[in-house]
Amino acid sequence: MKKLFFLTAISVLLVVACGEKRSNSSNDELAKKEKMAKIFGLTVFELDNGIGPIKEKITLLPIDPKMVEEGKKLFDTKCAQCHKLDERYTGPAQRDLVERRSPEYIMNMILNPVEMVAKHPEAKKMFAQYPTQMTFQNVTQEDARKMLEYFRSVDKSKK
């Protein structure tokens, strides 16, 4: 019975995850998401955008080259030992990060990785594939925002 429940949860999750990219989510999908979030003890916002200090959608402006530069510097010092842009390393390749995750999810993962891996279904899945716990690298929210700008700048679909 428990197994069945878990399988249902996973399939719901997959459906939700697939549906995530669509800009207009129907009421039906919202209802599914709500159910899904409840299973994992999260809010719908958390399910889409991660658990952590970023609790609201942020506004994205055109890419700011100065922030990109600073974000790259931070990425090289704090992240590059585990993440490369185009190859699987200690963690996943990051070039297409902004296509895979919402901006808020990216920042929450940077700022609150331990709780994310413990509670968020997506982060849990990644942990199963990359069995090294991502760590908080002593960065500020502002730093995380700069790194997000860097990830936006390296994404191929934007070029």
Binding site: Q81, T90, P131, Q133, N138
Partner: protein
């Protein structure tokens, strides 16, 4: 079926009664049924106090929790520690520099917290090295030794390091008098040539940096222990001394002749005035000050060649002797600063001097005579009272916050509790065995947290499972919150737990450092990202700028190292999260491993002697892929054409 059940009830009942019978018959135990709950700190919860115990002849400091007696940490101070690389890594080697060369060991006796307004403030912990006179300062944010200063003109730096009320000074006195300056003389010329010194080490109020302020040259007795005045006696410091006979052989007989020895009272505020008047003489000497820069992750040594010395002959009123019954050891000041308690090893009473009576006696010139111009005050003019029958061999006294004093008695193995002012004994409790120092959290300050007393014992005998001729060292925890002292716990300690200090956990835990910020790492050989990881050769010196992160080194394949090369592995841990150190070890290294904290850089020197392939690996289990965290170095013959390569 029913019979079986009955048996299940009866057997435990029998066992229980057997246990109870045993307890009631045990000669030194008594009933511990509620003691267990008083020292039980449930899994995952924290202790109420941090206790810092000297490691004695291990040369280190150990950190315990009270009341559980659990060991958390051993802080490397005077002894090399291959577990972390302390004293072996290139960065830490200078910490052990002295005017006698690099010394890998010392005998650490008295930890002492820095104080503000006479209360432990949780900033630093000082501890003395006896053998090659030194004082170390431990930073209580990082729990690392950050400074060691050598004390010149001293031998047997036992009477240290005790702080003044606002840590203006750390004081230190010589146990062994020696020629000052050192010279080649006949030992029998002791009385003519041997001198003691009392040192005042100035502490910078912001950085904690120690500087030798001044030394006072004193008659050649054995200056044993010390404590600075506080409250009313702030501005003074007190030093016990024995061997006023100035014997130089078989002291156990020859230094036990006089009826009384002394407590030396030093007016350090007067010393400051004399120094301002230019009464200090600059004397040539040699001593080192070693400082660990926590941003550079690097220790630097500086050699000093001068010290300012005051001679009591030129400075009237600087120092007085208070006669004290036979061979005093500890000298302890009560929280008000009025009473000076001196434990006399061979005395049958515990004398308590009065600071205010001492001032009056000085004013009235109630002198018995003098030693080399230092006035000896009359015993009856300075004594406030005597504690009668304080046990045999009373050594040290600490205080609680309710006007009680607790004295350790070595020979009779007990703690004796008495009332300050009436001098009457209220309680006594045996210790197992031969207690030396005792410690109450804040018990030598103006504000004791008088909930527990810890007995620091010299002998363990039958208290634990035997482990061959060498047994564990041991401490004992007593509850002193009630009228009667109550033994709660025995716990083993490292080295000899000589003296200790304890402080409420809440004062320290909030400041405890978690990582070293990688941005602030100013080590000249740091590689602060994998982009900076590399290998460089200059002549036969090869520098490997190696980074660690879970779960790999960069680079992890290195070729082109040759026999005769001097290789330095500069290991930077790029992690920035709490509790993720990485270790580094390479086959055949003749020194140690490195244990590198997040954001830190440490360097291991390596001189390969044979051709071949040398694996290196992470020694501190860091992740699921810890076993994968490894690398290889290829060593070729000297003069071989193997190119320098790394990935």
């Amino acid at each position: 079926m029913k019979k079986k059940k009955l048996a299940w009830l009866i057997i435990p009942a029998l066992l229980l009664s057997a246990l109870l019978y045993n307890c009631s018959n045990s000669d030194n135990a008594g009933n511990f049924s509620d003691a267990a709950s008083k020292v039980y700190v449930a899994p995952g919860t924290h202790d109420e106090f941090y206790a810092f115990m000297s490691g004695g002849f291990s040369g280190q400091v150990s950190v315990y929790g009270l009341p559980s007696g659990r060991l958390f940490r051993v802080i490397s101070v005077f002894s090399q520690n291959p577990e972390t690389g302390y004293g072996y890594s290139e960065e830490s080697k200078p910490m052990l520099a002295t005017s006698y060369g690099n010394i890998p060991w010392d005998d650490a006796h008295h930890p002492e917290f820095s104080q503000t307004d006479g209360v432990p403030d949780g900033r630093w912990l000082f501890i003395n090295g006896n053998n090659t006179p030194r004082i170390a300062r431990i930073d209580l944010k990082s729990f690392e030794t950050t400074e060691i200063i050598e004390i010149p003109n001293s031998a047997g730096n036992h009477g240290s390091p005790f702080v003044t009320e606002n840590s203006e000074y750390v004081v230190a006195s010589t146990r062994f008098s020696v020629p000052v300056p050192q010279k080649d003389v006949s030992i029998s010329s002791y009385k003519e040539n041997f001198k003691g010194t009392i040192s005042f080490i100035k502490v910078d109020p912001n950085s904690g940096k120690m500087n030798l302020g001044f030394q006072i040259i004193v008659p050649g007795f054995d200056y044993d222990l010390a404590h600075a005045g506080k409250g009313v006696s702030h501005g003074w410091a007190f030093f016990s001394c024995y061997n006023s006979e100035q014997a130089n052989s078989l002291l156990e007989i020859n230094a036990s002749q006089n009826d009384k020895d002394f407590v030396a009272a030093v007016n350090w505020k007067a010393a400051e005035k004399y120094l301002a008047q230019g009464k200090g003489k600059t004397v040539s000497t040699e001593y080192y000050r070693n400082h660990f820069d926590e941003e550079k992750h690097l220790a630097l040594s500086e050699k000093n060649t001068q010290v300012t010395v005051l001679d009591p002959k030129d400075c009237p009123g600087l120092i007085y002797y208070l006669p004290t019954p036979k061979s005093p050891h500890g000298v302890n000041i009560d929280p008000s600063g009025e009473y000076i308690v001196a434990g006399g090893k061979l005395s049958t009473v515990l004398p308590v001097h009065s600071f205010s009576k001492m001032l009056k006696a000085i004013e009235n010139k109630d002198f018995l005579g003098d030693v080399d111009g230092i006035p000896i005050l009359k015993y009856e003019s300075v004594i406030a009272g005597e504690v009668k029958d304080p046990g045999l061999g009373p050594l040290h006294t600490e205080f609680d916050n309710n006007g009680n004093a607790y004295t350790s008695a070595f020979l009779s193995s007990e703690i004796v509790k008495w009332k300050v002012g009436s001098w009457e004994i209220i309680d006594r409790v045996p210790t197992y065995y031969s207690i030396g120092h005792l410690m109450i959290p804040g018990g030598d300050s103006r504000k004791p947290w008088g909930k527990y007393v810890v007995a620091l014992n010299k002998i363990t005998k039958d208290r634990y499972l035997p482990t061959g001729p060498e047994l564990t060292q041991s401490a004992q925890l007593f509850d002193i919150s009630g009228d009667k002292m109550k033994l709660l716990l025995d716990f083993p300690t490292i080295g000899e737990p000589h003296y200790a200090q304890a402080i409420p956990a809440e004062i320290l835990e909030k400041n405890s450092k978690r990582i070293y910020e990688i941005e602030k790492n100013k080590n000249p050989y740091a590689a602060k990202s994998e982009n900076e990881a590399r290998v460089e050769r200059k002549g036969n010196v090869v520098r490997v700028y190696l980074t660690t992160t879970r779960s790999h080194f960069k680079p992890d394949n290195i070729e082109g190292i040759k026999i005769g090369d001097k290789v330095f592995f500069h290991v930077t841990n790029l992690e920035q999260d709490w509790d993720i150190p990485h270790g580094f070890a390479i086959k055949g290294a003749t020194n140690s491993e490195l244990l590198v904290m997040p954001g830190q850089t440490k360097t291991l020197a390596w001189n390969p002697l044979k051709e071949g392939i040398y694996p290196f690996y992470c020694t501190d289990f860091c992740s699921a892929l810890h076993q994968e965290m490894q690398g290889y170095v290829r060593v070729s013959a000297s003069g071989s054409s193997t190119k320098l390569l790394f990935n």
